[in-house]
């Protein structure tokens, strides 16, 4: 009895240690960023002083600088605008496609679903060169519209896959009943099925928004002026002045972005996994 308890205790400790170490490894850059954010210049830029302590009192100066003297807010505004538009476009394209895949296709539906999903794996680093020319020829270069146009190429495949999984989890009976009760197929779906997959739609919204927020390559290739940059591109390229880095402000900009997104992900992760695996179930 004591031995199993001891083993239990030992394995508990092992779990805590492992998780603790990984947690530290995963979050250390951010912890360091959070510490740095509030450090006064003389404190930070003195070699040899303990970087983990506030040898001089912490200050909000750099955060103020970030918001008032850099285009950071412009970046945030652009990112949010693009994100919202991309989410809307994504839903408009992938909701019908997902429904079709979940309900209306026979065995070629499974293959088409996987094909659409594979599109997600085609890397932007392969497509960005011809796309940059296409964007230029449409006179969209250096504008956020180039990104709004191109970002759905990676949000639509993933969203379609996820949404088809959520559609499949609703029994067909419900929409058939609604059709018998007097609605057309489209009305039946919008009135009875869509309300039931709202959690799935929210999940897709979160993931599509964050995917568009994370994107770097197209944003770097298509947009040059800081007025139109997103956070992902603006922070590494534009918040760098000469070869002096405003490190504290830079770190602040990173933390401000990272934390809310991580919280949102955490809430929706389980649903994401559920929809992802459901997408693979036949029929």
């Amino acid at each position: 009895m004591a031995r199993t308890a001891g083993r239990q205790l030992g394995s508990r400790t092992a779990v805590y240690t492992v998780v603790g170490l990984f947690g530290l490894f995963a979050s250390f850059p951010f912890l360091w960023a959070i510490v740095t954010m509030f450090k006064a210049d003389p404190d930070l830029y003195t070699a040899g002083s303990n970087p983990f302590l506030y040898n001089k009192p912490p200050t909000l100066e750099h955060i103020r600088l970030l918001f008032q003297q850099t285009p950071y807010l412009t970046f945030v505004r652009n990112t949010v605008m693009i994100g919202v538009l991309v989410v809307l476009i994504t839903l408009a394209f992938s909701l019908p496609a997902a429904y079709a895949l979940a309900r209306l296709t026979g065995h070629w539906g499974g293959r088409l679903g996987i094909a659409i999903f594979l599109v997600y794996l085609v890397p932007p680093t392969l497509l960005f060169i011809p796309l940059s020319r296409m964007v230029a020829s449409m006179r969209l270069q250096d504008s956020i519209w180039s990104l709004v146009l191109v970002y759905p190429t990676f949000t639509i495949p993933l969203s379609t896959w996820l949404l088809s999984g959520f559609f499949k989890s609703i029994p067909r009976d419900i929409e058939e009943q609604a059709q018998v009760d007097g609605y057309s197929r489209l009305q039946a779906v919008t009135r009875t099925v869509l309300p039931l997959i709202v959690p799935g739609i929210l999940t897709v919204v979160v993931f599509a928004f964050t995917l568009s927020m994370h994107e770097f390559i197209y944003a770097l290739a298509f947009v040059a002026s800081s007025d139109h940059m997103t956070i992902s591109v603006g922070v590494p390229t534009n918040l760098v002045r000469g070869d002096v880095f405003f490190w504290q402000s830079l770190m602040a900009s990173a933390v401000i972005v990272a934390v809310p997104v991580a919280l949102a992900y955490n809430f929706f992760l389980d649903r994401f996994v559920q929809g992802f695996t459901m997408g693979a179930v036949k029929g």
Binding site: V19, F93, T125, F128, I129, L186, A262
Partner: protein, 314 residues
């Protein structure tokens, strides 16, 4: 009771005009609903893909945007470049080493996370951070952490005595260390995704199988290696392939962390293609470099398909 007379005939009686019900026909509705997404993807993914391959057979530049076919000349120029050869090697090394690390570490982590413990939600939050942050932003955080002058890692190493106090490792300045740093960052950002996929796979192993093994007398380690890991193989395969694809084709980490340096020693195919194609304007060369990723990607895609067919997704 008689049927309500609302003045609307519609479905109150059987009105048999077939055309009104066109959209109800399943055979029509399916393709119709899929059309927008398919057309969009063909236009903005399929078409550029073909164009990318085409470009690599031309000498097109941003200055002279003409599709002038030159056969394999562009490829020859690209292959002659030492930087290209190095970037090819780097891409392979970086991908394999970082993903190997990810596989091992994520397995350990996933097993640890199966247990329910206090603060699990917070732990998960922390562990997910690398994946949920924009790649560029996370890399910036690392950039600061590995700074030549002010790295806290250097400080800690100095305190512990592994290097001289006040000394610098120049993580991003020395060739080998720079490569190691890039590998570390890639492993760091892919670890959460692999862990999540593994956890999902683990929870899909029916409890009865594990219990049957326990009744049969298998010890913890035997159960682990002979029952659980083999059952996890398909989904591990999927996770690994994802990691491989995303690492193999990524340019962001290199671009932001080292800029390809020192002296182009950490260039990978994707970043080199970017430098040549966008910064340098040689679209044809950029395309040719990127095209080298294609056969490997196609191979990965085929593998994923095979695994997806075999994996029992519950």
């Amino acid at each position: 009771m008689t049927a309500a007379n609302t003045g609307q005939t519609v479905a109150g009686e059987i009105e048999g005009r077939p055309r009104r019900y066109l959209l109800d026909r399943e055979g029509l509705l399916g393709p119709l609903l899929l059309l927008p997404a398919v057309v969009y993807l063909l236009a903005l993914v399929g078409f550029p893909l073909v164009m990318a391959i085409l470009y690599s057979f031309t000498d097109i530049t941003t200055g002279n945007p003409v599709l002038h076919f030159v056969g394999l000349d562009t490829f020859r120029d690209v292959l002659r470049d030492t930087v290209f050869r190095r970037s090819l090697r780097n891409t392979v090394v970086l991908t394999i080493v970082s993903q190997l690390l990810v596989v091992v570490l994520s397995t350990v982590l996933a097993f640890a996370l199966r247990v329910d413990f206090r603060g699990k939600w917070f732990a998960r939050f922390l562990i997910l951070l690398p994946w949920t942050t924009p790649i560029a932003i996370g890399t910036i955080a690392w950039l600061w952490m590995l700074d030549s002058l002010f790295s806290p890692i250097d400080w800690v190493l100095g305190q512990v005595g592994l290097i001289q106090q006040g000394g610098h490792m120049y993580w991003l300045g020395k060739r080998d260390l720079a490569m190691a740093s890039v590998i570390a960052v890639q492993a760091w950002r892919m670890l959460p995704l692999a862990t999540v996929i593994l956890l999902a796979g683990m929870s899909s192993i029916p409890q009865e199988i594990k219990e049957a093994a326990e009744i049969d007398g298998a010890s913890f380690w035997r159960r682990l290696f002979h029952i659980e890991l083999p059952l996890l193989l398909p989904i591990t395969g999927v996770a690994v392939l994802f990691g491989l694809v995303f690492t193999f084709t990524d340019m962001t980490v290199v671009y932001v962390l080292t800029g390809g340096g020192p002296q182009n020693s950490t260039q990978v195919l994707a970043s080199w293609a970017f430098y040549k194609g966008i910064n340098g304007g040689s679209l044809g060369q950029g395309a040719a470099i990127a095209v080298f990723m294609f056969p490997v990607l196609a191979g990965f895609a085929a593998l994923i398909l095979r695994l997806a067919n075999r994996a029992e997704v519950s």
